[in-house]
Amino acid sequence: MFKLFTNMMKEEWRIHSTIFGSLSFALFPVMIFGIAFMGSFLLPLFRTVIPRGDLSTIVHALFLLLGIMVGAFGLIGQEAMNRRFGQASLLAYSAKSLPISVQEIFCTFVVKDTVYYFFLWVLPFVGGFAIASPFIGIPLLLPALLLLTLTLAFLTGLSVVFFLSTVYARSKPALGIILALILIAGAGLYLFAGINIALFFPPLMLFYSFSWVLLGLTCAVILILSAVAILLFTSEYADTTKRYDSALSPLAQRLSFFPYPPLAAKDLIDLSRSGSFIGQTIFSFLIPLGLLWFLLSVLTRLLPPGGVLLLFAILTGVIASTMYTWITAFDSYNSYTCLPVSVRALLTSKMCSFAMLQLIPFVLIIVVSLLTRGVAYLIPALVLCLSVSFFSLAITVWLTGLSPGVMVYDAKVLVTYLFVLGIALIVLIALMFVNPDYALVSVLLFLPGWFFVRQGYAKWDILDQPTF
């Protein structure tokens, strides 16, 4: 078992270091440490607008989410790996070829994820906060407690997703019943008793009022969920083959105004059939923006008229630019190398598909401006949002080509992206605070944006495409 554990650790490291580069990935915990350290000095500022409790909830929620994401990736890892590496396999899927039971493999997999992500995320994050604590008047006991509760929040996310996925594999109706019960209980408590169910999240309860009993209960929840998941785990899944009527040619005809209609049609089909269009719109766009709107609305009194809407438009533009990762997630250039399709054509087509998706932020900004009676600032907000989105897209194309979802984790790429985008955003924010109409200047971002796209064409059309 220990041999399997060490090999799984090596495998996890090699996946990441192959994708991101050994040095870049080795620096990742250092970057988390640095961000947590510097971010800690902003805590006194945050506290003036956000109550301490909300901040703690957000941080615990983030680590819960991290656990869920890591767990989900573990379960769909084979497919994700195959898209990136071609015909790849993981030790976690080797039960059929090795004399090891699926339960033993799964158990080792859970332990590996726990140890690996503790050192990758939890420890650097809390370490940065701990080092900064004496300078901002926070007792050292708090980071120590945070190390415990964030680890438990991560483990809760991991065990919940493992539990739910094994229930799903055994019985879809059972999963539906469990989720419905959770929803009904949460909604009932909130609507009839005014109690926020998030406050019953065990690691958060432990953070607010530590007791050994509560610690035992929190660990018991994680252990029970994991144990049930390990017992129920099966590698046999029901056949999920789906059949579809042919949609590519009709769609390509409707998109004939695009430079590469079949490529654009393929992007739309990918988004629709993978479930990404709805899923990503909700989870990667609307929910983060809802949270951002909530945070920005706290600043209403501090900002000039229209400031919140315009600032929201900028942030919407930045988040909307990540839609480029939605349409590049389904294929690598390897899928096209047997066809007469150049990298330049693919980049152009992906940008056109991206342009179609910009209808979503466009509508969102209109709705938000109507709901907040900010119609007077609608035009500058729209221009700002779309200009920032396309400018950010251009930088992404230049820096990452067709692999934004992977290369953004390269520390050098990320720093360059943040630096170039940051300069533009600072100038725009300064201008719009002087006069909201100056936000229209943002349309000029299309010029440097075009320059970056051309740089991207030159960069990615010349080099052999990276294989991840």
């Binding site: 059949r243 042919s246 590519l248 390509a252 209609p261 389904f330 390897n334 190398t337 047997c338 066809l339």
Partner: protein, 244 residues
């Protein structure tokens, strides 16, 4: 047999990955109407060679032309003319088989693609998988799909990497016959394989690669004249090279 020049001409091709020379100064020539086999053990550089000849990757040295086009200068032009079956069958996950062939038809501007695809669905016996997403296809069916996309536009030259590896014996037989007939009608095929029996059955010319180096080029007819089997010749050559 007299070779017609100009279908594939490689001169001193070289490709390095890290410290390893995957293809080391390889020169070869394939004439029109040949079914040319590039043979070699796993890791000998066959796939790298095909990728360089089709402009999928750039060489680190040497030069090559395919159908008179320079692989470095006009890789897309070459891919327009030739058919390629890559070693790893990777059709797009969320398109159905029919849609993928429609997609290939649109990209290659093929007329009557539906009718042509129908013929292939019947010929390779996977009509029941027309509306299934590529991600849900078995490896054998994916291979059939990739085979179809390579020949859908009736290219004058096809470069195929391990073409029969996922096919059952019946399908292998059918495909071998198809390839032989395809060449008889004046087209050219460049295939890489490590299954020597296939090469001996269908290839006219062949080259043997080992650890990136070209050990031999010749014809199957020459071997037959010497009453020698390809596998014996291959093993003696590779073993000799390994001892060196």
């Amino acid at each position: 047999m007299e070779k017609s020049p100009g279908i594939i001409e490689a001169l001193g091709l070289f490709k390095q990955y890290g410290d390893v020379a995957a293809v080391n100064n390889v020169s070869l020539s394939v004439g029109k109407g040949e079914l040319f086999g590039l043979l070699g053990p796993n890791g000998s550089g066959k796939t790298t060679m095909i990728k360089m000849l089709t402009g999928q990757i750039r060489s680190d040295g040497g030069s090559a032309t395919v159908l008179g086009l320079d692989v470095e200068k006009d890789p897309i032009g070459i891919r327009e003319l030739v058919g390629i079956i890559p070693e790893q069958e990777t059709p797009p996950s969320f398109l159905t088989s029919t849609e993928y062939l429609d997609f290939v038809g649109e990209v290659r501007h093929i007329a009557n693609v539906e009718k042509k695809a129908d013929w292939w669905f019947d010929f390779l016996d996977f009509s029941d998988k027309r509306d299934v997403l590529c991600k849900d296809l078995s490896r054998g069916t994916r291979q059939k799909l990739m085979f179809t996309q390579a020949f859908l536009h009736k290219p004058v030259l096809a470069l195929i990497d391990e073409p029969l590896i996922n096919f059952d014996p019946i399908m292998q037989h059918k495909v071998k016959d198809y390839l032989a007939e395809y060449v008889r009608s004046g087209n050219t095929i460049f295939l890489s394989t490590h299954i020597l029996q296939i090469a001996e059955e269908i290839c006219t010319g062949f080259a043997i690669l080992h650890k990136g180096k070209l050990l031999h080029t010749g014809t199957v007819a020459e071997l037959k004249q010497r009453d020698q089997h390809l596998d014996d010749f291959f093993f003696s050559l590779v073993q000799k090279e390994s001892h060196v």
